[in-house]
Amino acid sequence: MAFLLNCTWILPALVAVLLMFVPKDNKPAIRMLSLIGAIVNLGIIAVLTIVFVNDPPALGDNPAATVLAFETKAMWFDKLNIYFHTGVDGFSLLMMLMASIIGLCGILVSWNIEDRCKEFFILLAALLSGTFGCFISFDLFTFFLFNELTLIPTYMLIGIFGSGKKEWAAMKLNLMLFGGSALIILGMAGMYIGSADAMKDRGFDLIAMAANGSIPVEIQMWAFPALFLGFAVLSSVFPFHTWSPAGHAAAPTAISMFLAGVHMKLGGYGCLRVGMYTMPEGAHACMDIFLVFATISVVYGAFIAIRHRDLKFINAYSSISHVGLVVFGFATFSALAIRGAIMQMVSHGFVTAVVFALIGSIYGRTHTRNVDEMGGLMKQIPFLSVAFVLAGFAVVGMPGTSSFVAELTIFVGSFQNPGADGGMNPDPLVLTCAVLCVLTIVTTAVYVLRTVNRVVNGPLTKDYDFGDANKIEKSAIIILLFCIFAMGIFPGWIANLVDGSLGPIMESLNRGAR
């Protein structure tokens, strides 16, 4: 089973290597190979999830130590105590499930790429490999390695296959994300070097760091902000969000889906798993500032989305607003809100992926992303339009969609945050921010309905000669919408899966509060 888990990152890498030997003109073979790889990967993760849900690992002696399933641990670099340490808990398994579904749909929507088809799918496979490697790494060093591995294919995929100011956007995105990485390295170095020599045999092991509280508080005070800020850049928290609209607008559809759906979540994952879990004292000391910035992201992203006319910009700012809610959930330190934030990560992954897939399909037909130049598409492309309306409701957070459950959990959780004294008096700052976030659901409704009404409703503005979605586009969109509604209608098992893995994290955070 442990090998099967490692297969999740080995397999895409293998696919990338195999693709190199496929002649570049044999496009059907290239596509089929990528697709089969993605389907097998999804299958593996589904099997692992089923096994995990039926037989979750028992808690260990130390309540703050995450107990991993399917664990592999091997010495890699003995001078520096770097291990190759992989495994999963419910949280990372859920993220992998989401990433593999989005990856599969990403391949489907890229089906018609003709130009440099081979290179595209090789890079996409490399991106997937890096992502899965990231989610299963429990050694900070490999985590970072895999994280960087995702950035390079992203750069090339945008720079080569994008549209508009693609080189500029790819450069901007990478400069900002590498800036974030530099901060992460700084934090990591602090965590590693600052500890007492005796502790060095733990190396970069995440769980060992967190479980024993082995990072001195004075180190945490500067290492945590650096690390958290680095991941916050990745999840595009205000004011470090500007890579995301530019990047999305230039990126090809599949990459937009992956960037907003999975990549931004990688930031959130890092914030919680690496930042808050290992350095709870640092987290408690400087979370107020992140709370404020997350709230600004939520409110600000939604307002700016009202003013934009380009569909991709609208969804990019909407993503900033929704991912801001994830960081907001973390920053409240309430177990319920953190669970909601994790659900929001999964939910928003699906929602934003389907929206970008739809934008891609619509753009492929109208050749414009400007909402003012569209109208009445319901008549012309009913399938895509209905899907667009449904996706719009998912963005608004209608009951029945996954975002409703996630947002509701965050809101309820944020009102019962433990507060400064850890008791019944919630922190007034958190409450203020929570009220602002609740009110933002109105702003969200405004920009979504404006967009939906302009694009699919109203009279037809032009004589179009294109048809509705083809089978491949439809299958991608249906898979994603199915996930959204399935999660919205039966959220119970996901909540339980998250709760199971949240115990150690909350234990560590509560220790930090004391």
Binding site: I304, G376, V442, L449
Partner: protein
């Protein structure tokens, strides 16, 4: 086919008996002790609402077969209508606040989709957006209220939340949120949810516009069922509201103000459906202030309000259905283009007459009984100001309904005559109308005892009411005066072309509240909030990032100049370095 499924669904969910135990489905937990479930919670008010919803939706489905006969996409219409019925049933049968919110939103979604059913009409699309956003605005407060109350009571289930002990504990704990009493703030926020859904002023602006939807939709969603959800919510939470006098005060004032305000506007409107929409608003105001004047000791207002919900549903639905038929006949919504339709539409004439008499409160018909009880409740509760408004609105109601009636059916026909040649009353459409006249006439008389005896807030037993006899007399006088005045004024076809002037113009334009909204949303929120934010984002935040980029680029270019790849420069630099090292070495050693 689709219709059959819809009807079967509606029938199968129609309750024959009162089921006391609830059915549950565990949905998700919120923390260790709170499990949210979806289920059915049946008590007198939810059963009453279920009856109203199922009866009316069945009739409206039948009516729609005729109404949507020529439409392009009945395959979209009937599923949406059934979806609405599903959501509405889930709403009234909710076992907890969160389930109520879930279906509350779903009802909003179906309303949005049905108002914008003719999506190629820009006005319909705009109206659907307006309805959704305004109710969503109210719902944000509702959600906040739910969270606040749930947090402090430790429960979301109505069965736990509305226990006297829970409310007493909450009241005595004097918990505060940002300095406000949680009980008062929480109930007020929950009420704001109902405020938006029931379109009380100033959040009423979406309802008249919602008339852009197909008429069957207006009849079921925007008059009989969905818009009373706010009243239902207030009634559902009544035991808690009653302990928060400030909230009850707001309920009363909002209700009374809406009743008066909408009735005044209804007297001047020319669009057949908008007159009915304002009339709905006015009646909703009645129901609301009736709840506001009640408390746990004087619960007559509560019963009367529910009674009015019940009777109003039938005659208002009937009015809308007949209006739809008339629109179908004359191809216009403007009552200025109607008149003299008495001969052409015999069935419609009589059913509309009955409905108008019922809403005007003529003795013997259903509206009289419920309205009478509301007035008695207001007087007995000592709310004399509301009582006077209520009586005055009774007069206005009679006046505008008969203005409406006379302009449509009497006088000369003022529209395009050739539409009338082929006009006929479809059987599918007449049948439900005739069925609805039965409860419009008898529901009041037959059900009065039931409502006053059984429909009571939880934990209250029926009391004796000996109402002063002059109240019904006065109500009758007011309605007859209104009818008489309208008949006198509009007996002959009056000159309707004149532009309204002065005060009348102000009323005709609905006191310019829509314009005020446009000003606030477009000029203030879009131009003064969102636009500067975008500017900041584009130039300040992104600009700062770009500066950082340029800095790193210029730094790179400095470094790049050194690494020029030219061998002689490298050799030169190497030599200089070598010399410098030697000199340093010589100096230090």
């Amino acid at each position: 086919m689709v219709l059959a499924i819809g009807l079967a669904y509606v029938y199968s969910s129609s309750p024959e008996t009162i089921i006391t135990d609830t059915w549950r489905f565990d949905w998700v937990n919120l923390g260790k002790s709170i499990n949210l479930s979806l289920g059915f919670y049946l008590d007198p008010i939810s059963v009453m609402m279920l009856c109203v919803i199922t009866i009316i939706s069945t009739l409206v489905h039948i009516y729609s077969v005729g109404y949507m006969h020529d439409d392009e996409s009945p395959g979209r219409f009937f599923p949406l209508l059934s979806f609405f019925v599903f959501s509405m049933i889930g709403l009234v049968a909710a076992t907890n606040l969160v389930q109520m919110f879930i279906f509350w939103e779903l009802v909003g979604v179906s309303s949005y989709l049905l108002i914008g059913f003719w999506y190629h009409k820009p006005s319909a699309v705009a109206a659907s957006k307006k309805a959704f956003i305004i109710t969503r605005f109210a719902d944000a407060f509702f959600l906040f209220g739910i969270i606040l109350l749930g947090l402090h009571c430790g429960a979301y289930e109505f069965a736990d939340l509305l226990l006297p002990e829970t409310i007493k504990t909450l009241k005595e704990s004097e918990a505060t949120f940002a300095g406000y009493d949680v009980l008062a703030l929480g109930t007020l926020c929950v009420f704001i949810g109902g405020w938006g859904k029931s379109a009380m002023i100033p959040l009423h602006v979406w309802l008249p516009d919602a008339m852009e939807g197909p008429t069957p939709v207006s009849s079921i969603i925007h008059s009989a069922t969905m818009v009373v959800a706010g009243i239902f919510l207030t009634a559902r939470m009544f035991p808690m509201f009653a302990e928060a006098p400030s909230t009850m005060y707001v309920v009363e004032i909002t209700g009374a103000a809406t009743a008066l305000f909408a009735a005044v506007i209804a007297c001047t409107q020319m669009d057949i459906k908008r007159i009915l929409a304002f009339s709905t608003l006015s009646q909703l105001g009645y129901m609301m202030f009736s709840l506001g004047v009640a408390n746990m000791d004087h619960s007559l207002g509560y019963s009367a309000s529910m009674f009015h919900v019940f009777t109003h549903a039938f005659f208002k639905c009937l009015l809308f259905l007949s209006a739809g038929l008339i629109i179908h006949m004359v191809h216009s919504n403007d009552i200025g283009h109607m008149g003299g339709l008495r001969k052409k539409a015999k069935w419609t004439y009589w059913v509309t007459l009955i409905a108008c008499l019922a809403i005007a409160g003529v003795p013997g018909l259903s509206g009289f009984f419920s309205k009478d009880e509301i007035l008695i409740a207001a007087w007995e509760g000592g709310h004399h100001c509301s009582f006077i408004i209520g009586a005055g609105v009774g007069f206005l109601t009679a006046f505008y309904m008969f203005r409406y009636f006379m302009l449509i059916f009497h006088g000369e026909f003022r529209g395009d005559a050739h539409h009338l040649e082929h006009a006929h009353e479809s059987k599918w459409m007449v049948l439900p109308m005739v069925v609805l006249t039965v409860p419009s006439i008898f529901a009041g008389y037959l059900m009065k005892g039931q409502f006053l005896g059984y429909v009571l807030p939880p934990g209250v037993s029926a009391g004796e009411h000996d109402a002063p006899g002059w109240i019904p007399m006065m109500a009758i006088a007011a309605s007859i005066l209104g009818i008489g005045l309208a008949v006198l004024m509009y007996r002959k076809s009056p000159d309707l072309a004149a532009e309204p002037k002065g005060l009348r113009k102000l009323i005709y334009n609905k006191f310019y509240i829509d314009e005020l909204y446009l000003f606030v949303t477009h000029k203030i929120i879009f131009k003064c909030v969102a636009a500067p934010m975008k500017w900041i984002d584009d130039y300040v935040v992104d600009g700062a990032m770009n500066v950082q980029e340029r800095l790193s680029q210029s730094l790179a270019s400095v470094v790049r100049a050194i690494q020029s790849g030219l061998a002689h420069i490298y050799v030169g630099v190497f030599l200089i370095g070598f010399i410098v090292l030697i000199i340093f070495g010589g100096l230090f050693f």
